[in-house]
Structure formats: structure tokens, C-alpha cells
Assembly symmetry: none
């Protein structure tokens, strides 16, 4: 139950010297401890483009840091280093750490939101639609950094009501509404027998969220085949399928 302390890059002092703030956080696994993004791959083109690139780099870096350390433990300085810009530059793009965080989350959620707006993959059965959707979600969210963002929201939500509100409004309530519609369609078509399911669309997505959290916390202890799990879950709802 002991693990590497102090931030990477600091020679580990066996005793935190005099006083000063010692235990900042444990920082078990920062993706990569602030790799300066030197060596721009391409010619930077004109001014506006440069600015956009810079901003993108900051956003990228900030997300990485926030994800791996949480809001409070993330240092602007590290974001800057990782983005390859000076500290002050960050303040040209964001008012302060807090608004940066909120804006980042909002921005990062946009793709998810768009996906929810996108016309559902109207295909054959409702099950196929949901399964397709879920596979997508698991592949593109649970396994990727987007999943970490979900976990970040779970982690920081209570301290950032604005973030939690936004997430609820834009992602959760919409996603559940869409899911409810699909469930009702499934019931109407006779694919789903359990009528009460429409009252709790959360049940449908629960395993997907579990997968997201599992990924972050336990995947190194025990990998989880999220897609297969979801399939089993769908079997519960739609009845067992093909012999597959």
C-alpha cells in the first residue's frame, strides 16, 4: 500500500526536507509527465492558424492533465509545459483555471452531444440499433480519453455544479430520452417484453458506464470485455439471440 510519491521530475526526497507543502498528491500515473511538444510537425502557416494550433495544444494538454490529476491537483505550469507554450499564453485563451476547466469539459462533450443528435442508425431491429450504438460507445468512449472525461465529471461534478448541470442537460437527459424512445419502440415492436424498462432507461446504459469506470480503475487488475458484457446485457432484455 505504498507507491511512488512526489511528482515525476523531482528527485524523490526520502523526507520532504524542512517543511513546505509536502503531500501534494500521489500522481500515480500521469500519462506522460509533461512532454514538451517541440518539433511542430508542419509549417505553422499564418498567424490565425498558429493561434488555433496553440489553442488546440493547450486544450489537449489541459485535458490530459485534468484527467490524470483532477482539477485542483493540476498545475497550470504543467499544462503549459505539456502544450509547449509559456504559462502566460494560457491566460490569453482562458480567463482562469476554473473557466478553462469548465470550457474544456463543454468542448470535450460536444462530440458526444453531436452523436446523440445524429440520426440513430435506423436499421433492422431495435436490438441491432442499440447494440450498434453501444459498440460504438464502448469503442469510442469507454476505451478512449472520452471515457476519462466522463470519469472526470463524476469526480469533479459535485464541486463544479455548472459542469454537472451541463452534462446532465446536454448529455444525460438527452441520451436517456433517446434511449427511452428506442425502448418504447422495442416494446411496440414486441422485441422487449419488460414494459417497465421504459421508466428506467438508465438500466440500458448502466453496463456501458460500468465499463468506463472499470477501464480507469481496474483494467490493470482484471481486463473487462465490455462489448461482450453489453451483449449479455442485451440478451437479458431482448432474450437470447443467435447461437453466436
Amino acid at each position: 500500500m505504498s507507491n511512488p510519491k512526489t511528482r515525476p521530475g523531482k528527485a524523490a526526497p526520502s523526507k520532504p526536507a524542512g517543511r513546505g507543502r509536502a503531500a501534494r498528491a500521489v500522481t500515480a500515473e500521469a500519462p506522460e509527465p509533461a512532454v514538451p511538444k517541440t518539433a511542430p510537425s508542419k509549417a505553422p502557416a499564418n498567424r490565425a492558424e498558429r493561434a488555433a494550433e496553440r489553442r488546440a495544444a493547450i486544450v489537449e494538454a489541459a485535458l490530459d492533465e485534468f484527467i490524470s490529476r483532477g482539477f485542483t491537483a493540476t498545475r497550470i505550469d504543467d499544462i503549459a509545459k505539456r502544450a509547449g507554450v509559456a504559462k502566460g499564453t494560457i491566460y490569453l485563451h482562458f480567463k482562469d483555471k476554473e473557466s478553462m476547466f469548465e470550457e474544456l469539459i463543454r468542448t470535450a462533450l460536444v462530440p458526444m452531444i453531436n452523436r446523440l443528435h445524429a440520426p440513430p442508425p435506423i436499421g433492422g431491429s431495435v436490438r441491432d440499433m442499440i447494440e450498434g450504438f453501444a459498440q460504438n460507445f464502448i469503442r469510442e468512449v469507454a476505451t478512449t480519453r472520452r471515457g476519462d472525461i466522463v470519469r472526470l465529471i463524476v469526480a469533479e461534478g459535485p464541486r463544479f455544479p455548472a459542469v454537472a448541470d451541463f452534462y446532465y442537460r446536454e448529455v444525460v437527459s438527452r441520451g436517456l430520452a433517446g434511449m427511452r424512445a428506442l425502448i418504447e419502440l422495442g416494446i411496440a415492436r414486441g422485441e422487449i417484453r419488460q414494459k417497465d424498462l421504459a421508466r428506467f432507461p438508465q438500466i440500458m446504459v448502466a453496463p456501458a458506464l460500468i465499463a468506463v469506470i472499470w477501464q480507469s480503475l481496474f483494467s490493470r487488475h482484471a481486463p473487462l470485455d465490455a462489448i461482450e458484457m453489453f451483449r449479455v446485457h442485451l440478451d437479458l432484455i431482448f432474450g437470447e439471440r443467435r447461437t453466436a
Copy 2:
């Protein structure tokens, strides 16, 4: 989309952001802004008892603070105030903030662990056993501070591998093992038809975890009847029940 609150106990600041460490955290809802727990209810008895009481107060206070602010944003000072002890006293009981956090989590999980060890309520059907267990869980975890601890682990786990490890070893793997056993029992008894469920006991508990998270983040937007949700979930697994 902005709701940053000041720390409780700080008179609304007349000053602009200024400098110094600004964005500490947003702290939307501290349970109670550090109410010193003076006035011990009983006569303190002897020395050792006093110490134990003190320690308990610290643990209690620290958990509250960690839950509502997260690890980094929690101040030892606030824990001390809330516990009604001096700052230095905390260091008589814990080596530092970090080990305090880890030890706290471990301690707080003990009741859950004990529950997992306890002989399952062998009663009638497997469904009744699971439903009883789940009701218990939802009532005593999802709705209470213990649920917040689960969320706290989700939030800080990646930065505290020791915590995540401990949680996996002592709670998750055991809980899932127990659940798997129950599922297999259900399959053997013919209560559960879907045999693959035993491969993913996570599915069984997923809605309970969803409930925990929902509680923290969205309950003020939309309350969730977790017990009813879980019942519907069980209906999926065991088939619809009585007309109740």
C-alpha cells in the same frame, strides 16, 4: 454555466481575483462548513478513551471534507476545525495528509467488506436474496455517505493506486465473486435462465452503482427511485414477478 462558490466561512470577497493561489476549487456544496464539534456529548472518561474519541472525530471530519472537496482541495486546517482539534493533533494520529486519506478510505470500507463476508441472507429464492441485498445496499450506501466514498474512490482512484488496489481487492473482487456465486446458484435452481450472466456479475450490480453516481450528481435535477429501478432490473433477470 457558472456557479463558482466561495469556500464556506469566507465572507464574500470584496476583492477581485488578484493573485496568490486563486482557483482552489469550486466547492459547490460542503456538507456543513466546518462546524467545530465542540461539546462532547459525554464525559470523556480516561485518557485512552479520549484519544479514541478524538481520533474518531478526526476520521469523521476528514471523510466529510475529502468527500466534499476531494483530496487535494481538502485542507488539514478545515479537518481540524471540523473535528474540533488543533492542526497538530492530526499529525499525532496520521503521518501525513496522504496516508490519512488512504487509511481513511480503508477504514471506511471495512463495514462494506464485513457485509460482503457476512453470511448471505439465505432465505427463499435467489432473487429475494439479491433483492434484499440490493435494497440494503441502496438504502445504506447509495443514499448515504458511504456512497460518496465510492464516488470518492472513483474520483481519486487513478491518483491513488493503493486506494484503487485496495478497493478492488477487498470490495470489488469479493463482491463480484459473491455475486457470481449467487448467480450460479440462481442458474442451478432454474431461477435465472441466462447462463452467461455468471461471466459478468457486474451487470447485476451496475444499476446500484449508477444509483450511487446519480445521487451525487443529478439527484437535484431528477430524483431517481433506485430501489424501484433495481426491481425492474431484477425482473429482467429473473422474469417479471408478482403483480405488486
Copy 3:
């Protein structure tokens, strides 16, 4: 006893003091919160004229800012905004903030210096001359921004010896010398009986300086009729006058 104002132009901060440079200054009353002087009144004519105009705008803006905030608390950025130019432009005209300050003060004092050089209003009595001069001074200095410059010198002088030196050399010593000459003339003519006054011409101008300071600090608590005050002062020196 607290009236700290935020800087003009900054939306009232929802955040507590936090960190970062906090207490920059209180800035109780910035003349006008940096109104960009866009919309040049006339066609700019040729290049050199444009440059001169720009420089004048910068000087004007800088004086206003320095007066209302003092040297250290004044930001180049605000000067630029107020002058309607880009920050970099200021560095085309001035080496740095410090030399800008010194040069500004020097420039701003030139009119006063010229007035001191100007042939004294040789009129009838010495009293009339001094009274005329004083009325001029009070009307054109005490009540206007030039008075603020005097206060600025008092404020920053100790930190800008060059400024204080210049002010002493060009304004104070000359002014006092002129005043002494007038006093001696008055003594010679029998208008002034108190011969020792020539040793302390400061006495003659003291009320005028008081008026300048009063203007800046206390006029909103209690207005001061500086001209009348000066007249009473002259009555002390020259004896009471007409019934007027």
C-alpha cells in the same frame, strides 16, 4: 473603512481573493476606465503628423493613468487602450515605462515652467501681481490635472529622484526665486512690512499647495474655496484690503 474598488473594466469578480497577484492597487477613481480614443477627430494628414498625434495621445493617456494609479500600479496596457494604440506602439516612442514616466512629468511641467519664465504681470501693486498670479495658479493648476501632477510628484518623488530633482530645479527653485523677488519688491515699495518673509517665500505659496492637495483628497468631504482662502492669506501679508 473598506472601500476597495476593482479595476474599472473588470466585471465584478465572482471569485475570492484567491492567488496570483491580488492586491494590485485599490484604484478608487480612475478618471474614465480606459476609453479607447478611436475616431480621430480630423483627417490624419501626413505621416509625421500622424505620429505626432499618436504620441500626444499616448502622453495624454499615460498622464491620466499615472495620475489616477501612480507609477507602479499603472499598466502599459491601459495606457495603450486609452490612447487607442497598440501596446507595442508605446515602445516606439518611449524606451520603457520608467523613462516614459520621467519624460512625461518633464513635459507636463513645461507649461508651468514657461509661466514662471513669462514676464510677471507687471501691473499696479505687488499684491495685485501676486493675487493675479495666484488666481491663475489656482484656476489652472489646483483645479485641473496639472494639480494632480504636483501631487503625483509628491507621491512618486522619493522613488524618482530624477523627477524630484527636475521639479526642484525647474519649478520650485525658480518659482521661489521669482516669488522672493516679488516679495522684496513689495518690501521696497512698503506694501509688505514683514521683512523676514523674503527668507521664506514658501509661506507665500503654501496655501496654494494646500489647495492642490485638498482638491485631490478632501474636496468631496468639504469643498474649499481656494481663491478666497488665498485672498485672506494675502490680507495677512499685505494688510486688509478694500471692503470688497
Copy 4:
């Protein structure tokens, strides 16, 4: 018109290196550039006494720094060094730089206020009373650090309305009221002929204030015998005195 730049203790860089904030202030003459007050003269006695001593040292140091640099240009760090305490210690005694400044000024004015409350030296003539008072003032204010505080208020007053208000209320208005009473007494006794003087007690004190300012700004160019000046001034008001 050039003078030593950079802060004392910093090797003077002929060019301020890369960028960074260069021109902080000129700081022509810091009394002594932060001499750590090591070596406490006496045994520090008990805890409370120590705290009082510390606080006094901070107050002392802060006043010195504020006086020689002004509010904004003063660094908490320098105050700490000069007081011989750690930076953080200052925040145990004062909320922030700004309230420290305001409180300091208030505290520093208390002796002056007390003097104003003290029963006036009722002696022989009104002139003697005023002369006694003025000599006191000049000796104990104009020539000492208290005079610098007056100048500090003149310098920072416009940006610290609270300070200016306090100064007006507690010192200026009271002082002028007392002076007016004395003048009226002088008029009643026939010592002062010029009745209008009571309308402008400022005239009476003007030379004293001039002396204060002269001290700070010009005394090294031309020393000023403030006491003699004030005597001449009184001669104007009361008529010439003894042949002395």
C-alpha cells in the same frame, strides 16, 4: 536625469535580460534594503509577548517599506525580510496587503489623533500656544517618519478612499476644528486682527505641511528651517514679536 535602477540586492543588469517585468520602480532610496532583524536584543519572554514583538516588527517594517516605495511597489517579501519573519507569518497578522496598509495607516495615525485630543497647552498667549504646538508638530512630525506617513497618505489617498476618509475624519477635520477654536480665541483676545482667518484655519497650518513635504522631497537640495519659517508665519498673523 538617470539614477540607479533595479532593486538593491539585484546585480544591476545593463539590459533586463530576456523579457520579464523589468521596470518595477526605481526605488531611489529604500531606508535600508531589508536588513533582517536577526539578533533579538532581549530574551523574548513568553509566547504572547513574542507574538506582540513579531507583530510590532512587521508593522515597523511594513511602514518603512510602504513609505519608501508606496503601496503597490512594496513587496510582502521585503516586509517579511525586514521584519525578520517568514512571508506566511505576515498573513497570520493581516488579511492581505491592502488591509495591512489600511490598518497600518490607521494605527500610525493614532498618536497624532491622541495629540489632537490632548488638552491644548493652555499657557499664556494664543500665539505661544500655537507656536508651542507647531514646534512640537515640526519636531515630531515633519522631521520624523510620521511626516512620511502624511506624505504617504497624500500619495496613496486617492487610491485608498478609506484611508483618505479616515485621515480626514480623525486628523484633518479635528485638527482644523481645534485650530479654528484657537484662532477665534486669539481674535477674541485681540491677538489676531484678521477675523477672516477663522474661516480658513488651513492657512495657519499650511507652512507646517509644506515643511513635511519639503523634508521628503527637497531637503537634500536645500534644507529648510521649518521652525523659523513657522515663526515668521506667525509674525504675519500675530504681528512681529520681540526683537529676538
